[in-house]
């Protein structure tokens, strides 16, 4: 197969940018900011170029670039994308520049280091989505952790160290188990292949042949790691802390992209590699997902801190995604993919908005606010649209994802139980409750706090950040076909891998 270097270029753009950035003078903040932005925008443009050259009529991996990396162990540098990865790639490269702009005012110390870590983080995120080799995937998976750790730990709030360490250890615990599973998987596959390799595409053909017991262990090991990242109830407690303590840009990236890696991992690894175990555990995981939906919504409802509220709402939203994935119907999985994008946009925008008001008042306590609609109408408008998108109002993006997920899970033969959908659907009600309640307390009513009269409305820069997000929110809501088409064939392929796993060949 001919190698296509585009993805490698995409990987190297932010990497090179990050390295070049090190040669900038720390005092020269303006140049650093613009340089970081330029690099991330170039990456986005390249991702767009990839999107336009992507053949959505094929579910196979495209733009593949493969060569032996560690020859003795058949570990490859193997990258490639299918439709699902492409969408997440676009999301990643789209969100990164926005967060960089958003932090121009929020990050005042160590700008150079911050920009460096953001670009470095982008390398990790892109790498995770394009890796087609388990070892390579693991490397990127861990690479991503380091900048995030520093972003929370250095630029975070009061308890940033606690949050950063908690985030790091939680994720690390999961990923180490995944490393063991990767090694075990590859070693076990040696029995079938005759040689050791971590190449995903080759493992796709043999891993489903494993016995159910082996599949079960491997599935659980992978699932644990991904479930922590998602985060699936009850492994979610790192999330509120990390979100609340992280700077705005960190929260946005965390919610927008990092959480998707868990769900992406389920889709890319758990389902196709261990189809029998996936079906076996589908109900179990779905129960956790449904609990997460209700639980996250209920707990979000009673939060007093805006960021914590949004953080818990992520638990609920990601619950939908996991439910969609494990319902394993075409509708639900495509819905889950769309919902990943949606969550990245809506929750990312919510974090941006909370961050913007935080920069003005230095508090996120809901009770501090009230009646700001009069003072900052433009802000209130944006908050309304984004809240509605998060609530899942038809016509905006959230609805398409949630609708497809619920519809798919309702007809799912794997789950084969309506109660998943019925209970999950009530989460839709609570979503309205917690967001509108917050909106009511923050934006509506009379101005109770005289200090609020002094805050200013959004600046041009902030509007410039939000408008693209809003455009996509409406776009996905009104014409989701643009995105559904891209993921359709890839979803079909994954579901085929689950429903018709490769049979052992007689030798």
């Amino acid at each position: 197969m001919e190698n296509n270097l585009l993805l490698t270029y995409l990987l190297f753009i932010p990497l090179t940018g990050a390295v070049v950035l090190l040669f900038f003078k720390s005092e020269n903040e303006k140049a650093i900011k613009y340089f970081g932005l330029a690099v991330s925008v170039i990456a986005f443009l390249l991702a767009l170029y990839i999107y336009f050259n992507f053949d959505s009529n094929s579910g196979e991996f495209q733009f593949v670039h493969k060569f032996k990396w560690i020859a003795n162990l058949s570990i490859f540098y193997h990258v490639g994308i299918d439709g699902i990865a492409l969408l997440l790639l676009l999301l990643t490269t789209f969100i990164t520049p926005l967060t960089l702009i958003s932090s121009w005012s929020g990050i005042t110390k160590k700008v150079k280091e911050f920009t460096f870590f953001m670009l470095f983080l982008e390398v990790g995120m892109i790498g995770v989505f394009i890796s087609l080799d388990l070892f390579l995937f693991y490397v990127f998976w861990e690479v991503m952790l380091i900048p995030m750790y520093f972003i929370i730990g250095v630029w975070g709030g009061k308890e940033r160290i606690y949050a950063a360490v908690k985030f790091f250890i939680y994720t690390m615990a999961g990923s180490l188990i995944m490393l063991v599973a990767i090694v075990w998987l590859s070693v076990h596959a040696t029995n079938y292949l005759g040689y050791f390799t971590t190449d995903l595409v080759e493992l796709y053909s043999v891993a489903p042949l494993f016995g159910l017991d082996v599949q079960t262990y491997l599935f659980l090991a992978f699932a644990l790691s991904f479930a922590i990242k998602v985060p699936l109830f009850p492994l979610h407690t790192w999330l509120p802390d990390a979100h609340v303590q992280a700077p705005t840009a960190g929260s946005v990236i965390l919610a927008g992209v990092l959480l998707k890696m868990g769900t992406y991992g389920f889709l890319r690894f758990n389902l196709p590699l261990f189809p029998a175990a996936s079906i076996h555990f589908a109900s179990f995981i779905s129960i956790l997902a449904v609990i997460g939906i209700i639980y996250g919504a209920l707990v979000a409802m009673v939060q007093t801190d805006m960021k914590k509220l949004v953080a818990y709402s992520s638990v609920a939203h990601l619950g939908f995604v996991v439910l969609g994935i494990f319902a394993m119907t075409q509708e639900s999985v495509q819905g889950a993919v769309i919902q990943m994008i949606n969550h990245g946009l809506s929750t990312g925008a919510l974090f941006l908005l909370v961050g913007m008001i935080y920069e003005r008042t230095h508090t996120r306590e809901i009770s501090y606010y009230g009646g700001i609609a009069k003072i900052v109408p433009v802000y209130s408008f944006f908050l309304m649209i984004v809240s509605l998108s998060s609530i899942g109002l038809p016509g905006l993006n959230g609805f398409v994802g949630e609708f497809l997920i619920l519809l798919g899970s309702f007809k799912s033969t794997v789950l084969n139980n309506w109660w998943f959908t019925i209970i999950a659907a009530t989460g839709v009600i609570f979503a309205a409750v917690y967001l509108l309640w917050m909106y009511k307390r923050v934006v509506f009513g009379e101005v109770t706090n005289s200090k609020l009269n002094e805050i200013t409305d959004l600046t041009k820069r902030e509007i410039f950040i939000l408008v693209p997000v809003i455009i996509f929110i409406v776009w996905i809501g009104v014409y989701p076909s643009t995105f559904l088409n891209v993921s359709e064939k890839s979803t079909t392929k994954i579901l085929q891998q689950v429903s018709q796993p490769p049979k052992a060949e007689l030798k």
Partner: protein, 646 residues
């Protein structure tokens, strides 16, 4: 014009965008009002054109589809943004855009001087956009878009004066209540859709209805589907048990109450049942439930309406009650009668609200009827039009309400039973009583307000002309649906027009039984006499002998109090549902389960590791020689191993 029907949807959207984006920069209120009303007026013309064109087509070609683009396509699901133009949607479209246009015009006068008129008109236009989607959709999902969209607009408009207090809290709390209660219903709607998709593998009306007749599906599935959908309808149309939001929705500006919470949005549930009448016809159990809920809601809301003092509250409960009638009609299989009542109700209830708005407008935002009285001489037009509407809602012939309400009552007797008719008739009497109660207390008698301070005046023309138009419609609107006994075979133009839509459903139902014309006339006259009795009683109590009202209230103090407090339903919901959920989430789920249990476990794990290391690190004495000694001991042991393996 049928092909251009999407303009009827698009124009309000354009109006919304123009007013929403540039509105704050347009300084001239009139321009804003013109844009807002103009968009709806043009939409009305489009619908009217489509109506006329459909009218000219032969009966079997009157259903047309306009496809725009593919909306959601995943797996077997294929949802188009497509509009179905048939008899039912055209009737609804005419009502929505027609009454909507009138109310828009009225709003120009009513909202005069408000600092964010642009926002008001933008929201109203958005509402019409959503409502048109709901009506014209050719599939459930697009209908749901409108369904939720109108809920959103309702939320936005109820909380329009977001900084004003309302009752115990704020207008935005009322808006939120409306949205959340609607959402509960919406979940029912969603589940209904899922079950439909599971059963029929499609969400297109045409496909679903075709398959509903041809597929071999057990009756219980239909019951379940229709029940789920009906939950949605109870939420949107404020029926028991989800009616609690509508009275609170009166926090919004009065034109909003007229348009959204009386004439159009709240009837969406009725429209939805009419649209899916075939499915309901195949689920007799659900039909019964719908009828029971409808008639009880009608009665129940009417009793509350008897004693309320806020003029808009009375009208709100009246709306709930009238919606109950419509559901009764749906439940007894009188679909076209239900839609007919929907239409006449839209006229006279919008008129009542607008009249009330006119009063409130001139009384400086006073809404309590105890402080009105004798307004007849100050505002004659409002008085006259309000009287027409009151006659219409009371069912006095030949006003429109008489025809529609009596048709429903008659069908409820013939199709289901006497009990339903009785309860409906009693409700009619109560309706006549409470509507004239507020009428007399407002316009007749002596003024109970300080005439030196308050100077009531007739509203400007931009408000009175809409009132007059609506009054004319309320008065004569019923003539298109004159019952067969007066007009002969196919004389009921309205039901003949709608007949093709409900033909399939009515075939399934096939109520047999023949009744004499005498019987029909008897029942009709009983209810008319009852209504007149109600009016006269109200006149006697509130005009001739005002003290009776007070003494009765005192005599039956307990009943009065229960009614005044709306049977304490809000309080019951608050203490049984809302409080437990919030407190449970806060004190148990969050502070106990999340923080103490899960996080406590995680932190405890980390803590025990760090405790263990607290002891282990004592080994690190810092004396290097000790480390070396340990190392040497290790070498000793290792060498033993080497020796043993030699």
């Amino acid at each position: 014009m049928i092909d251009l029907i999407y303009l009827a949807v698009l124009l309000p959207l354009i109006g919304f965008l123009v007013n929403g984006i540039f509105g704050s920069r347009i300084k001239n209120e009139k321009v804003i009002g013109l844009i807002g009303s103009g968009a709806i007026g043009l939409a009305f013309l489009v619908v009217a054109g489509a109506f006329l064109q459909t009218l000219s087509l032969p009966v079997d070609q009157r259903t047309n589809y306009v496809e725009l683009f593919t909306w959601i396509k995943a797996g077997g699901l294929h949802i188009n943004a497509a509009y179905q133009v048939d008899q039912l949607s055209l009737v609804m479209g005419l009502i929505v855009t027609g009454v909507g246009f009138i109310i828009h015009v009225y709003s120009i006068g009513y909202m005069h001087g408000d600092k964010s008129v642009w926002r008001f008109f933008a929201y109203l236009n958005l509402f019409i956009f959503a409502m048109m989607n709901l009506i014209l959709a050719d599939n459930f999902v697009l209908m749901f878009l409108g369904w939720e969209g109108v809920g959103l607009c309702s939320y936005l408009l109820i909380g329009f004066w977001y900084d004003k207090p309302f009752e115990k809290s704020t207008t935005s709390a009322a808006g939120m209540k409306a949205f959340v209660v609607n959402r509960i219903g919406d979940v029912g709607f969603l589940l209904g859709m899922f079950l439909i998709y599971l059963t029929f593998n499609s969400l297109n009306f045409t496909d679903v209805f075709a398959r509903a007749s041809s597929f071999d599906v057990p009756g219980s599935v239909f019951t379940l589907i229709t029940l789920f959908l009906f939950i949605g309808a109870t939420g949107k149309s404020a029926q028991i048990p989800l009616f609690v939001w509508l009275p609170d929705a009166m926090a919004g500006p009065t034109p909003v109450s007229a348009l959204i919470h009386a004439a159009t949005m709240v009837t969406a549930g009725v429209y939805m049942i009419a649209r899916t009448s075939l499915l309901y016809a195949m689920a007799p159990t659900t039909m019964m439930i719908v009828a029971v809920i409808g008639v009880f809601t009608a009665f129940f809301a009417a009793t509350i309406g008897l004693v309320q003092n806020d003029i808009k509250k009375v009208l709100a409960y009246s709306t709930i009650s009238q919606l109950g009638y419509m559901f009764l009609a749906m439940g007894v299989g009188a679909f076209s009668a239900g839609i007919f009542h929907l239409m006449t109700h839209a006229f006279f209830k919008a008129l009542l609200f607008l009249g009330a708005g006119s009063v409130i407008h001139s009384m400086h935002a006073q809404q309590d009827i105890r402080y009105f009285g004798g307004l007849k001489k100050y505002m004659p037009v409002t008085y006259g039009t309000f009287l027409v509407a009151a006659f219409a809602i009371s069912g006095i012939p030949p006003f429109s309400g008489f025809f529609s309400k009596d048709e429903i009552l008659w069908y409820s007797y013939t199709n289901v039973g006497f009990f339903f008719w009785l309860l409906g008739a009693i409700t009619a009497v109560l309706t006549a009583f409470y509507i004239f109660r507020i009428h007399f207390l407002t316009f007749n008698g002596t003024p109970r307000f300080d005439e030196k301070r308050t100077h009531p005046h007739e509203s400007p023309k931009v408000m009175t002309i809409p009132l007059i138009i609506l009054a004319v419609l309320s008065a004569v609107g019923g003539f298109i649906g004159i019952p067969e006994i007066f007009s002969g075979e196919n004389g009921n133009v309205f039901s003949t027009w709608l007949a093709p839509v409900f033909k399939a459903a009515e075939l399934k139902l096939s109520y047999f039984g023949s009744y004499s014309h005498f019987e029909e006339l008897l029942f009709m006259s009983i209810s008319v006499v009852g209504a007149i009795a109600g009016i006269l009683t109200a006149r006697y109590i509130y005009l001739s002998k005002p003290e009776i009202a007070e003494s009765t209230a005192r005599k039956y103090g307990r009943v009065y109090k229960i009614l005044l407090n709306k049977y304490y339903i809000d309080e019951v919901y608050e203490s049984t549902v809302v409080k437990p959920i919030i407190n449970g989430s806060k004190s148990f789920l969050w502070k106990m389960f999340d923080v103490k249990l899960i996080d406590g476990f995680v932190n405890g794990l980390a803590g025990s590791v760090s405790n263990a290391s607290k002891y282990l690190r004592k080994l690190q004495t810092g004396v290097v020689q000790l480390y070396a000694l340990v190392m040497i001991v290790g070498i000793l042991l290792a060498l033993f191993w080497v020796i043993l393996s030699l």
